[in-house]
């Protein structure tokens, strides 16, 4: 009916760079240290490889779902059709908050990076300044250009691979050490999932490609690149520092690797890469999350206040609200140093979401068997069913992982509290919002809408 091709579409490389770029947050460097600690040293790369292998299956689920319903609303649509509206809303709210976790944790890492490079200015000042700049840029409708995002993601991955290889060539690891598994190896795999978290956040762009199958191809390529880059980085880290616990007190392990590989040049290069990576995560995360909040407000499941637009047609209240929440979390993490709680919470929520993606694939195969799919998961229902069990176990494992010396699983408490709040909101508040009277048809546009 309509013409076959759209006049303006995104290139395949943007599917790769977006997937890899959103997964490659600055906090990943700290997660690599945590993986190495649990894995017992140099087998960290193997834990990441296993986590990556599992993630490929999760990627297959997202590939089928995104080619079935290519939509910017992504999980909101898939869960609604595959399970139901209430579960969809509950899960979407929890899932969207992981974006805030990542922004807050990245702000924390970047704050410490600045403190290491410019010690005269307190790190907290940098955290506030960076989040303010990103919120302002978002409020003005300024986005990181696709070309910048593409370049940044590829430069980061190539840099990581090059640095890690340099370190490994200078201090080659012994083969037995590379395969020696520590007692917390399963937890290492669970936390290793966090390294890949966000690879699927490219799916909301499905509508912008000429062929939705560019998303599966882009995600799988990105997963390979992420596994290679961060796997090598983990190997390099644990080779240079055989006892990774020595690094656990460092909040800038990537700068230390840079310094070790190339001296001051490497230090500053990694500092720049960390900054641009974090800014891309902030900007992309905030833009995506604020549009999602806007859409929920338009659907009347969030207060109308969140649908308010400024003169640039940006959902301004959503942008400032999310920035504020990120800032509060980032300051809290900065003061308490509890960034591992956020990492484990993020890994737990994402693992459970990957388990849910398996259930969605199985259910939608039953409910909508004839609908066109550009990608089909292998071995339905058995393979996704097993995957659902594995990711559920990994998710619970990540949430139960104690942080530091405290035996209390703070991540579980944090996510549990969030789940109770989201459940209460969906059950009690949403029905009232849905019932509210429609806004007058005579509303006029203004500078604030």
């Amino acid at each position: 009916m309509a013409g076959k091709g759209l006049s303006r579409v995104l290139p395949y490389r943007t599917a790769v760079s977006t997937s890899a770029g959103l997964a490659s947050a600055a906090i990943n460097f700290l997660a690599c240290v945590e993986v190495a600690e649990y894995a017992g040293g140099q087998s960290a790369w193997l834990a990441l490889l296993v986590a990556g292998g599992l993630i490929v299956f999760a990627g297959a689920n997202f590939s089928e779902l995104t080619t079935l319903y290519p939509s910017a609303a992504a999980i909101r649509v898939w869960i609604r059709r595959g399970v139901g509206d209430g579960v969809s809303l509950f899960s979407s709210l929890i899932y969207a908050t992981t974006v805030v976790f990542v922004i807050a944790a990245d702000a924390f890492v970047v704050g410490h990076m600045f403190r290491a490079t410019i010690p005269e200015v307190p790190g907290l000042v940098w955290v506030v300044a960076l989040l303010a700049v990103v919120a302002w840029a978002n409020s003005r409708g300024i986005k990181v250009a696709g070309a910048v995002q593409d370049t940044n993601a590829f430069v980061l991955l190539v840099t990581l691979i090059a640095f890690s290889l340099l370190v490994l060539v200078k201090a080659p690891p012994t083969v037995p050490a590379l395969f020696r598994l520590g007692p917390g190896w399963i937890q290492a795999v669970a936390v290793g999932v966090f390294i890949f978290v966000g690879f699927e956040w490219v799916t909301p762009l499905a509508e912008e490609f000429s062929d939705a199958r560019a998303i599966p191809r882009g995600m799988f390529t990105a997963l390979g690149l992420i596994a290679m880059a961060f796997g090598l980085f983990s190997a390099a880290l644990s080779t240079v520092f055989p006892n990774p616990h020595a690094l656990s007190s460092s909040l800038i392990p990537q700068l230390m690797v840079g310094m070790r590989a190339l001296g001051p040049l490497g230090f500053w290069w990694m500092a720049l890469v960390t900054l641009t990576t974090a800014m891309t995560t902030f900007n992309g995360g905030l833009a995506t999350a604020s549009r999602f909040v806007y859409a929920l407000a338009r659907e009347r499941v969030l207060p109308e206040w969140f649908a308010r637009l400024n003169a640039k047609l940006v959902p301004i209240n959503a942008v400032w609200f999310l920035s504020g929440i990120s800032l509060v979390l980032a300051v809290g993490v900065y003061i308490t140093g509890g960034y591992l709680t956020l990492i484990n919470a993020g890994a737990g929520v994402e693992s459970l979401m990957y388990a849910l993606s398996s259930i969605l694939v199985i259910n939608l195969r039953k409910r909508e068997p004839d609908r066109e799919r550009g990608f089909r998961v292998w071995g339905v229902p058995w393979v996704p069913a097993v995957l659902a069990l594995i990711f559920t176990a990994l998710g619970i494992g990540a949430l139960l992982t104690p942080v530091g010396r405290s035996p209390v699983p703070w991540s579980l408490g944090f996510v549990g509290g969030l789940a109770v709040l989201a459940g209460w909101y969906v059950a009690k508040v949403v029905p009232r919002l849905k019932k509210r009277a429609p806004v007058s048809r005579s509303r006029q546009p203004g500078s604030q809408i």
Binding site: G3, R80, R298, L313
Partner: protein, 115 residues
């Protein structure tokens, strides 16, 4: 009401509002709309050029955006009886194109018809 009538009404509402015309002044787009139903698939279109919207029937060779939904739903959306976000988040309204354009259309319906 037919889809063509609903689209004409939507276009008229946009064009008679000077602030919407100003808002759309730099927004030049061709939007293909595919209505599905028991009759098969029917193509209509919407164009924005220098702040003025026009609509018509038939396919477009190279649209900037394509919207696909059941015809009754499209009629409800373009006549202000239904917010496009609800069916979009339910997967009943499918879009191909840039998200900014999709949001612009949603904002137009918000400004004309309210929440």
């Amino acid at each position: 009401m037919t889809l063509a009538e609903a689209l004409n009404g939507f276009v008229a509402e946009c064009n008679q509002d000077p602030r919407l015309r100003e808002m759309n002044r730099d927004w030049s787009r061709q939007i293909a709309i595919v209505a599905t139903g028991h009759h098969g698939r029917r193509a209509v279109w919407l164009k924005s050029q220098e702040g003025i919207l026009t609509s018509g029937e038939g396919p477009l060779a190279s649209p900037d955006m394509e919207i696909t939904a059941p015809e009754e739903m499209l009629i409800d959306i373009f006549s202000g009886l239904l917010s496009p976000t609800e069916p979009y988040n339910a997967g009943d309204l499918l879009v191909r194109g840039q998200q900014d354009d999709m949001m612009r259309l949603d904002i137009l319906t918000l400004l004309i018809w309210g929440g």
